[in-house]
Point group: C2
Chain length 280, copies 2
Amino acid sequence: MKKLKRSGRLVDMTYYLLQHPHQLVSLSYFSERYQSAKSSISEDLTIVKEIFESQGFGSLLTIAGASGGVKYVPTVNMEEGTELVHSLCEKLEDKERLLPGGYLYMMDILGKPQLMNEIGRLFAAVYANQHIDAVMTVAMKGIPLAYAIGSYLDVPVSIVRRDHRVTEGSMVSINYVSGSAKRIQTMSLARRSLKEGANVLIVDDFMKAGGTARGMMDLLAEFNANVVGIGVLVEAEDVEERLVDDYISIARLEKVNEKEKQVQTVPGNFLDKLKEVKGE
Amino acid sequence: MKKLKRSGRLVDMTYYLLQHPHQLVSLSYFSERYQSAKSSISEDLTIVKEIFESQGFGSLLTIAGASGGVKYVPTVNMEEGTELVHSLCEKLEDKERLLPGGYLYMMDILGKPQLMNEIGRLFAAVYANQHIDAVMTVAMKGIPLAYAIGSYLDVPVSIVRRDHRVTEGSMVSINYVSGSAKRIQTMSLARRSLKEGANVLIVDDFMKAGGTARGMMDLLAEFNANVVGIGVLVEAEDVEERLVDDYISIARLEKVNEKEKQVQTVPGNFLDKLKEVKGE
């Protein structure tokens, strides 16, 4: 790569860091990449850090010492987080998404990659320092959000299936009781798709009684894995008894009335958790 | 936002453009965002453009006139594309992924969000100027790649299902013959998940005879949608009769021998297509 001036380095460095979240990049790497002295690189990084942090893109951690370097940790500021949560609530209240039986059509939301990325960044901000090794979800609607989070945390995604395919190799299966319908179902995860003892973040698009999340926790126990957290996009209203207590939701349904064509939502507990993490 | 110096503007601008691919951003927007004269913004953009294009991140198109502005179009250069294709081929040749029946375990590849993003950028580069309105895939292994492409092209993803869920609303279903197993199957797409007349890119993780892709094409006909292209990560070897002709693949299996524990691959036709698009 040809020698770059500061202005060019700043553009390239920003791009590079965004493509490598949660990865330690040594000063030597940048120094060689731009054929520039480490002192210049340090000054560049100070500028990048200031903008990243003041604009709420994330933090730029500096690790000192011979094996040191810099690490970009994507986060979100309270203002942007609040705005996004409220805009999601508003989208959910569109009565056109009401389906027979009081179900909500959500694929217009789940089908937008950029929106999923934004919401993924919310969860990545809250779990940034929890040493997550993998994100786990169940096919299929949780997949887009799981990948968005995995992308920001730079960790793989494990997809639990409700069927058994020949292309998965040996699988570990459990039975679980879906909380709302009280039906016994099976879920399976390919043996090689998750490391033993991994720290796992469970993700799903929707949680009612939490039977599916409970099932995923049981499945994780078979892998001796640790559940670090549970993140859901939307949680249901009026659940008599939840099967899991500790989870983070972006939005919560308050009232879904099919007859009156009404959907009311409130923000979930995400913003409280974000505040906690930020120590604000 | 407080007034920023050039160095700060370059960092913020790079971040902003990367978050808004394929969107026209007016000079006025940046001018207000940074409280800087349009002439300064123009100079900033010249620097960003030079780096984006020389480093192969993508093009920065400048649209002149009152409603003009700048648009970031993610692409990939031949060198980076070639490297990525070959590294994928190498990964596929790992004999540990051989499963009984000659199937290949691919979830380690498909489960990596960052890798999917990189491959997504390859397809986004080839289809950048084809006015794609939506990416379509079938649940579930094509989903990660479809979202990665959709994210770079800034278009929604439509997910075809093999079952029927109450949370999808009215669905359009077709029967199709899976090319390799010759079984009749059903696939469905929610009516509201795709606009009539849309230009659609079909995406999947694996293609053997192309029965599933053929099925998706038939389904798209029900939506009066146009198939702009078909992109697959891996295509199978030795297919007697393919049901679709025009597709782009990243890698192609040459020989899969379960007994000898051998997997041989060659690059698919992707690099030829990229060369064509780039006019090189």
